[in-house]
């Protein structure tokens, strides 16, 4: 075992701050071909034989006194470089698995790690863990159903994953996510991210209203199982299919959109499955074909939302052609909603994604759908929110998901990206969407959603403003009450406050005049006395010191009036 550990243990990557540990590990372990391997080895250590590592540590670093700590450190360090490497290096399956394992272990390690690394590490760990958890889920689900066509595209990362996933979608009719659309879009123009966004958006739209569970369901759907997305996409497809029936949809859309959306999310299973398959293939084809007018799409998108709901209810009317429409319609809806509503927000992102996916073909058909703009607005808002979130998530995913190994992962990554935004936004979305489905609460939601993700701390610090100096009200109240010896109304205190402010203004003016008259720039006690004399407070009969003694507490009295104490001493000393 020791031998194996020694062999397996790779050189610690120099990335880790703990050079000592790394050096030790490097010395002890056999040379490692690459950082990855080393990182992997490091990871393996905790995964495989934490005990062994400790033993090896003991064995190798006799000088080290904190063996356990060093082991932790090494593990943590390995994780650190591992994560770093992940982002930089190509994703590999091994890395992925390692990351998964590491991610779970990372949390405890980071806690034990020194404080310097802990903060950023924990944050990353959390993200990583979430991500990995999601990835795992995806992997499990995808592996079950998906083909491994995308194996070759691991290098490209997300992009390739998207493409591959799209390709897969093409292959798997069961995939209902937008991916088919994305596939075409990504290939055509927009970067892979955008299609992801669009896909995620479409899926996100669904997930917006639904909880994270639904998202997972979608993920499952990717695996070709019935999922909310499928249902949604199917509904989308259905709606698209019914391009011909625009008129019908329009009528139905307005009243049903709010209902449908809820239903869509819930009901998808049965109707969509058969449809989804068909629609996907068709949608994919259609998506590639159509890219187009965002404005038109926006309308259509809105319509689509409503339509989708209807479609679900209407059940399979789906013609192949219609299925194509659905995805585009979904996209259009997104676009339309986005374009219509949230210009300031991450519309840029969304529109980009949507633009890529926008289906030009549907534009003419959907132009007629303007009515249900109101209802789909809320939906679109949500979608936008989702999209935005997804966009954010996608970026996160892209960075985190280095080891986007195979296409199997890609769909999960996409799903993950979709999931994460939905997952992250689920609570916020639920709050926003559930109470007001029709309400345009979305405008704030994307902002809200984005905020916590980006920089929550900055907001708090920037909100602080410099307060104007003023005498505390309590002090004024107390002093006045003591002097008045009578109950005073609350309104009267406001007036007293104003009087005191004016008094201080007068006071500063007078003091400045006196000091300037004396040829000085600093206000002295003599200036104050002159002021009080002019005020009529200090007279020949009433010296200043008497006033001081009367009104000021002892401490201040000692400071102001020199007192002669025994031993030839004067307080305060002059």
């Amino acid at each position: 075992m020791l031998k194996r550990v020694m062999q397996n243990q790779p050189q610690v990557s120099p990335l880790a701050p703990r050079i000592s540990n790394h050096e030790d590990t490097q010395e002890a372990h056999s040379e490692v071909p690459s950082k990855r391997v080393s990182s992997m080895g490091e990871l393996q250590l905790p995964d495989v034989a934490p005990q062994d590592t400790s033993i090896t540590v003991f064995h190798m670093k006799k000088k080290r006194k904190k063996l356990s700590i060093s082991e932790f450190e090494r593990a943590a360090d390995s994780r650190l470089p591992q994560y770093q490497a992940q982002s930089t290096l190509d994703s590999t399956i091994m890395a992925r698995s390692l990351r998964l394992s590491v991610g779970s272990l990372l949390a405890p390690d980071t806690v034990e790690k020194r404080g310097l690394l802990r903060r950023p590490k924990t944050r990353r760990a959390v993200d990583m863990q979430e991500f990995e958890g999601r990835v795992e889920q995806n992997m499990l689900k995808n592996k079950a159903g998906q083909n491994d066509l995308m194996d070759s595209q691991s290098a490209s990362g997300i992009r390739t994953s998207i493409l591959t996933s799209d390709a897969e979608i093409m292959m798997n009719s069961t995939e209902l996510f937008v991916q088919p659309q994305m596939d075409e879009d990504s290939q055509s123009k927009l970067p892979a991210l955008e299609p992801q966004l669009s896909d995620s958006k479409t899926s996100a739209q669904r997930s917006l209203i639904s909880d994270a569970d639904q998202e997972e369901a979608r993920l499952e759907g990717r695996v070709s199982s019935v999922s909310t997305n499928q249902g949604r996409t199917q509904s989308y497809s259905k709606s698209s299919n019914l391009d011909d029936e625009h008129v019908d949809r329009m009528t139905r859309v307005s009243p049903e959109t709010p209902e449908k959306q809820g239903e869509e999310k819930l009901d998808h299973s049965q109707q969509s499955n058969p449809m989804a398959e068909i629609s996907f293939t068709e949608e994919e084809a259609v998506c590639s074909a159509e890219r187009g007018a965002s404005t038109v799409h926006s309308e259509h998108l809105e319509k689509k939302l409503s339509e989708k709901a209807e479609l679900q209810i209407t059940a399979a009317q789906n013609s192949r052609g219609e299925t194509e429409m659905a995805p585009s319609a979904g996209e259009e809806l997104e676009e339309g909603s986005i374009g219509g509503h949230r210009s300031p927000r991450a519309e840029g992102e969304i529109t980009r994604g949507i633009g890529a996916e926008s289906v030009a073909g549907h534009s003419p058909a959907f132009s007629s759908f303007h009515k249900p703009e109101m209802t789909p607005l809320s939906e679109t808002d949500e979608q936008e929110d989702e999209l935005q979130d997804q966009a954010v998530m996608i970026h996160l995913d892209s960075t985190v998901e280095e080891p986007a190994e195979d296409e199997v992962e890609h769909p999960p990554s996409q799903e993950v990206s979709m999931k994460t935004p939905a997952f992250v936004r689920a609570p916020a979305q639920n709050l926003l969407s559930t109470p007001h489905v029709a309400k345009p609460a979305a405008p704030s939601s994307p902002l809200k959603l984005l905020k916590p993700k980006t920089v929550p701390k900055k907001l708090r610090t920037s909100e602080k403003k410099p307060r104007e100096p003023q005498i505390p009200r309590s002090l004024i109240k107390e002093i006045f009450r003591h002097f008045a010896k009578m109950p005073v109304t609350r309104d009267a205190f406001q007036i007293v406050e104003k009087c005191s402010e004016r008094y201080f203004k007068q006071l500063s003016n007078d003091l400045e005049a006196y000091t300037h008259h004396a040829g000085r720039k600093t206000v002295e006690a003599a200036d104050l006395e002159v002021l009080m004399r002019r005020q009529g407070l200090v007279t020949d009969k009433m010296p200043m010191n008497v006033l001081i003694e009367r009104f000021l507490p002892l401490e201040y009295r000692m400071l102001l009036i020199p007192v002669a104490v025994g031993g030839n001493k004067v307080i305060p000393c002059k």
Binding site: A513, A525, L528, L560
Partner: protein, 76 residues
């Protein structure tokens, strides 16, 4: 009566009004003293006004009339 005076706040207020003016040590205590005396005079005047109105509590109008007089008196 309170045992501490808001020395820092007093300095800030003076600085706000006259930023170029500097304060010597413990001068803000004398400023606080003058403020106390001002409030004292204001309270006395308000009390007199309330008595004249035969009210048991000091009302804002009493204070307003009192402030007019005392502020004028407190001008250096």
């Amino acid at each position: 009566m309170r045992s501490t005076a808001p020395r820092g706040t007093l300095r800030k207020i003076l600085k706000k009004h006259k930023p170029q003016l500097r304060l010597a040590a413990n001068v803000d205590l004398l400023v606080h003293l003058s403020f106390l005396l001002f409030l004292h005079r204001l309270a006395e005047e308000a009390r007199t006004n309330a008595f004249e109105n035969k009210s048991k509590t000091i009302k804002p109008e009493h204070i307003i009339s009192a402030a007019k007089v005392i502020l004028k008196k407190s001008r250096g």
